[in-house]
């Protein structure tokens, strides 16, 4: 396995702290400015804080911090999908599996 590596790997003497921002497509089934129902391939836990990003036809991007109210699995055939019920939370506090985020 080692001989297959193409690049030298460096071990950090102290782990470097950072963050990852993962992206997943979703379909917004409903949106009233305060809450939304979205269908996505990524499951979530209640109280998880996510960001819901819309791109307008003109290219303008709006980002809304949301908190997951509950998540249910889509009982339909095809790829595994989840329906997330979320609520906009401008003052979102970190959930058990995410950190507080601010619109960028």
């Amino acid at each position: 396995m080692i001989a297959r590596r193409r690049f030298t790997r460096y071990v950090l003497p102290a782990p470097a702290e950072g963050r990852a921002r993962t992206l997943s497509d979703c379909v917004v089934e409903s949106w009233d400015g305060e809450s939304a129902v979205v269908v996505t391939t990524q499951p979530a836990l209640p109280a998880d804080v996510l960001m819901l990003q819309f791109t307008a036809p003109g290219g303008a991007i709006t980002v809304h911090p949301v908190r997951v109210v509950f998540c249910v699995m889509e009982p339909q055939h095809g790829p595994l999908r989840f329906r997330l019920h979320v609520r906009v939370t401008p003052d979102a506090q970190p959930g058990p599996n995410s950190e507080s985020v601010a619109p960028s």
């Binding site: 297959r4 193409r6 030298t8 702290e17 950072g18 997943s24 990524q42 950190e99």
Partner: protein, 140 residues
Amino acid sequence: MTNAVLLRNVPLVVRDVSSGGCLIESRTPLRIGSVGWLEVEFEGAQRFEWFRIARVHTEDAHTFLAGAEFLPLSAAGVDSLRGAIGRLGGSAVPTGSDGVAGRSSGDTGNSEREDVPVVAERSADIADSSRKIVDFVRRR
């Protein structure tokens, strides 16, 4: 119905890194195939990189290790993590690390990265099972 994107911020630590990928540890499981944007402090500066999760390993009930492959979507800039690692190629101080078990950095070797100035490994270095440590404190 309309399309949108869901973004999730995941706090993490980077355990090891190469110019092709890194091994990250998080309290939140990352799914294989997930794509995202990595921000990490490296050599005293914030570095950024697009990545894709190549594999995931559960260390314990609350700790997850993920091998991330960097996505060379553009030339490595000054704030690029893979660029910073590439520049280390010839100057890093290799040190044995017997106390740390080897793990994949997530580099599958499938992506071309000719834009990254990487010093080729010698066969002796590749065969050596001990990994190398960068002394970040000394380089700041």
